[in-house]
């Protein structure tokens, strides 16, 4: 006789898994930290998302109340930067996320021309404020990541 583990892990039993949604809408804020990443975030903002909203740091960092309001209603804040860019507002946004206990992910875009020194500098600027840092040479990665996170 089969054990429960054997029976329940079969392909046949997989058909009986409950098919109702198992999560509520994920509220994700995506913030472009520098001028080079703004067009990328703008472009993403034109597409259809579950609950993701898009900002530029220039828009919200200068208005503390708006920044807190945006971050306070988030499950995740994704900050997008470009290697060699100037993510001046990373600290302010990161600190606000930290105070409000909101998870942060930093995404640094680079290309084959990006030197280790430049990438290291940008990593260093973001590292203190991110619970996850991703370096990618693929522009498509941001969209794939947001889709994977049900943003």
């Amino acid at each position: 006789m089969l054990t429960e583990s054997a029976r329940m892990s079969s392909a046949v039993e997989a058909k009986f898994r409950i098919d109702t949604p198992n999560s509520k809408r994920h509220k994700v804020k995506v913030i472009a930290l520098d001028t080079q990443s703004e067009p990328v975030v703008d472009d993403l903002a034109q597409r259809h998302w579950n609950g993701a909203t898009f900002f530029t740091a220039a828009d919200i960092a200068s208005d503390p109340a708006r920044l807190r309001e945006a971050i306070g209603a988030s499950d995740l804040v994704v900050m997008v930067a470009t290697a060699g860019g100037h993510p001046h507002d990373a600290e302010l946004i990161g600190e606000t996320c930290s105070h409000m206990r909101v998870t942060t992910t930093g995404l640094i875009m680079c290309d084959e021309e990006t030197s280790d020194e430049i990438l290291s500098e940008t990593l260093g600027r973001l590292r203190p404020w991110m619970l996850m840092l991703v370096v990618s040479s693929s522009r498509d990665y941001i969209e794939d990541m947001l889709l994977a996170l049900r943003a």
Binding site: A11, R17, N22, S23, T105, L119, S120, L123, V134, D140
Partner: protein, 428 residues
């Protein structure tokens, strides 16, 4: 989450599937060399990438990996007689050489040349590092032989095992690049397992259950850095290597042997989990070797004469709720290997990734899928050579290191992440 078509694309590896085409760009481990120990030894059935094959050695010791079934009436050649320079079907005596070429059809006149028209599909099979590697792709694209470091060290510094895993290969791979589960699933093992205990890094692991991650593309795949707090404001980094499509190397602990895995699809619902340990500059101590043979560390104990774990889904993985309550194991299942396998098999043969809820710390998994999907597209549409085929990508290492807070692991540990001849891994 993935869309259903993406999940299918990544998980199905049979002939004529896109992911199958990607896998067929690489040399893949298929057997331990000890499974074909000598010329004319018994043949071994091999199923890999959903293809039924037979591995055998002829009189001169040539390795053969051919279609399992006789071209005449479809009899399994596992029943064949391994005799003078060929394998003979027991049914009507058709005989094949190690390339799959039919060399005798007893019912036909030799002068007719009939047997020259019969040839079984066959693939190159080579021995390297105690492992038999097969290449299932087009012969004109056959890559250089594998150069994984574990396969290049003397045999007394290396231990390799394999076990059957009853789930799709991607579930197994994703477990290996997900460092955040170690502080939970394997919590009980870190200070108990003879191949892990005693490392200072273990304490960092246990003291900080919420590591911070950095995922960085590498030439062959990904570096996945897990950062935990160490003394004086420094960070303890554990850097896992993933090399496409299915190789991972776990960061080392103290002077213990370094280990890693390959996850090789058998078919779409099963894979071989290959596990290796090695040291570069010293032979294993007898206790280390005994522990590996006893299924400690990342290895498991298999039923005698098989590669199926003793603890498996047919016995509920020997679940011990009492040990769980006592805190000896976190999940109730004993040992790193079976802890991983039990949870991954419980997801079903192919997990439905449309239902999952990934979080930020899953970016290693998300990025691996992203790179695999891009590479599949490039292979299928442009005949590109995917990452991980180049032996340079294979000469990589994992590392564990304590660094000041302002130093990226990728730069500070640069030399630690590639093979350094006659030097051990950088470890804490």
């Amino acid at each position: 989450m993935l869309r259903k078509e993406q999940n299918d694309l990544l998980t199905l590896t049979g002939p004529a599937t896109p992911m199958g085409q990607l896998f067929r760009c690489y040399w893949l481990p298929v057997l331990l060399a000890e499974e074909l120990p000598e010329p004319e030894c018994p043949p071994v059935r091999v199923k890999i990438l959903s293809e039924r094959l037979l591995a055998w050695r002829d009189t001169e010791g040539h390795y053969a990996l051919t279609d399992e079934f006789c071209a005449h009436r479809g009899v399994s050649l596992w029943f064949g007689r391994n005799e003078e320079r060929g394998l003979r079907c027991p049914y009507h005596g058709w005989k094949y050489d190690h390339t799959g070429q039919c060399i005798e059809v007893p019912s036909e006149p030799a002068a007719s040349g009939f047997c020259e028209k019969i040839k079984l599909a066959s693939y190159p099979l080579v021995e390297r590092g105690g492992v038999l590697w097969a290449y299932l792709g087009p012969s004109e694209l056959q890559p250089p032989l594998p150069e994984w470091e574990f396969a290049t060290v003397p045999s007394d510094r290396r231990f390799v095992s394999k076990r059957l895993q009853e789930s799709n290969w991607l579930q197994a791979l994703e477990g290996a690049i997900d460092s955040s589960h170690v502080s939970f699933l394997h919590r009980g093992e870190l200070d108990r397992d003879p191949l892990f205990k005693g490392s200072k890094g273990n304490q960092y692991n246990l003291d900080d259950a919420r590591p911070v991650f950095e995922v960085v593309e590498s030439p062959g795949g990904l570096y996945i850095g897990a950062r935990r707090n160490a003394e004086d404001g420094n960070y303890y980094w554990r850097v896992t290597q993933w090399v496409m499509p299915c190789f991972t190397m776990i960061p080392p602990r103290a002077d213990h042997p370094v280990h890693g895995h390959f996850f090789i699809p058998i078919d779409d619902g099963q894979c071989w989990t290959w596990s290796f340990d090695y040291k570069v500059t010293r032979p294993f101590a007898s206790q280390e070797l005994e522990s590996m043979r006893a299924g400690r560390g990342i290895h498991v104990q298999c039923a005698p004469g098989t590669f199926r774990p003793l603890a498996n889904k047919d016995n509920d993985y020997l679940m011990d709720r009492t040990a769980q309550r006592r805190g000896e194991t976190f999940s109730g299942v004993d040992g790193f290997g079976m802890q991983d396998t039990s949870v991954q098999e419980s997801m079903g043969p192919i997990v439905d990734r449309t239902k999952e809820n990934l979080v930020s710390t899953d970016n290693g998994i998300i990025m691996a899928r992203h790179r695999l999907l891009r590479s599949v597209k490039a292979v299928v549409e442009k005949d590109a050579t995917p990452p991980g085929v180049d032996p340079v990508h294979q000469r990589c290492r994992s590392a564990s290191v304590v660094l000041p807070p302002n130093q990226p692991f990728k730069d500070a540990a640069k030399s630690a992440l590639i093979v350094q001849d006659n030097r051990e891994h950088v470890t804490v």
